[in-house]
Point group: C2
Amino acid sequence: MSLSSRSAVAIHALTMLARWERSLTSAEIAESLASNPVLVRRILGSLRDAGLVLSSEGRGGGWSLARGPREITLHDAHIAVESEQVLARHPHPPNSECEVGRHIQAILEVEFQAAEQAMRERLGRTTIDDLVSQVLIAERALPSRRH
Amino acid sequence: MSLSSRSAVAIHALTMLARWERSLTSAEIAESLASNPVLVRRILGSLRDAGLVLSSEGRGGGWSLARGPREITLHDAHIAVESEQVLARHPHPPNSECEVGRHIQAILEVEFQAAEQAMRERLGRTTIDDLVSQVLIAERALPSRRH
DNA sequence: CCTAACTGTAACCAAATTGGTTGCGATAAC
DNA sequence: GTTATCGCAACCAATTTGGTTACAGTTAGG
């Protein structure tokens, strides 16, 4: 299988905040995700720790973007909620008495980091604002009920 | 966390097969991995299904490369043992009554596939032969005991 | 033909992770 | 002070993971 879906949830939430341009509660976001508020607060909490969103407590509180949607990339969201390693390394060190075992970890580390970097670089090219634009385009393409 | 370490194990095994240029048993490979033969057979079984290695049963049997080490990339090993998706999608479909929920899955799918493709492309640039070369170089750099 | 050395595979295990949930305390607006 | 919100700990079932045991099937060699 793959990683957790936290990235998808985080990006979904960020897109909502950028789309509606107002503070949203964890309940509102949870409804769109067909999930529940606690899960949303968990993930948005990571985004807040990473400086992507702001939260305010108490009545009327909720979540809002900490910077413009053009200044938040999918990569920002990804690293905020997910561990750095996407490709898992050896579960434990190989046998150092084997010539391959002695060196493979260090060699693989370089290769895997390069591959992960390529993925991050691609994620970094799309902003939350791009996603909002795409949502609006997709919505316009729907058979409208207004006429 | 990240994916399973099957890729790392598969690449390790392929590198051994290319380095020693002879048939190896799952026990020999397991020893280098500090793991056990059944696990190795499981993973090498996937590599065989993908056409990367050959196995022969019975006494004197074991595993060997099905093609030259220059014709096997890290990407080949990766897709042979791991599911395609590296970035997890939504755990379940979002609420289609929300404008963002309606479209985010399809939009994210394109972005995530592009990011995964970038990673695969990078993995595809390194061959098992490259790793063997790097092992030999690293080994030569070690303080030798022979003099 | 028998035995030893292999692969193949099913069954099982403990540990970790995941998405989800409940409960409750803290905070702030009204 | 009541209500709406976040913050957080605790817990849960399901899944995945690396690992292990057990054993059947296959092949080479004596």
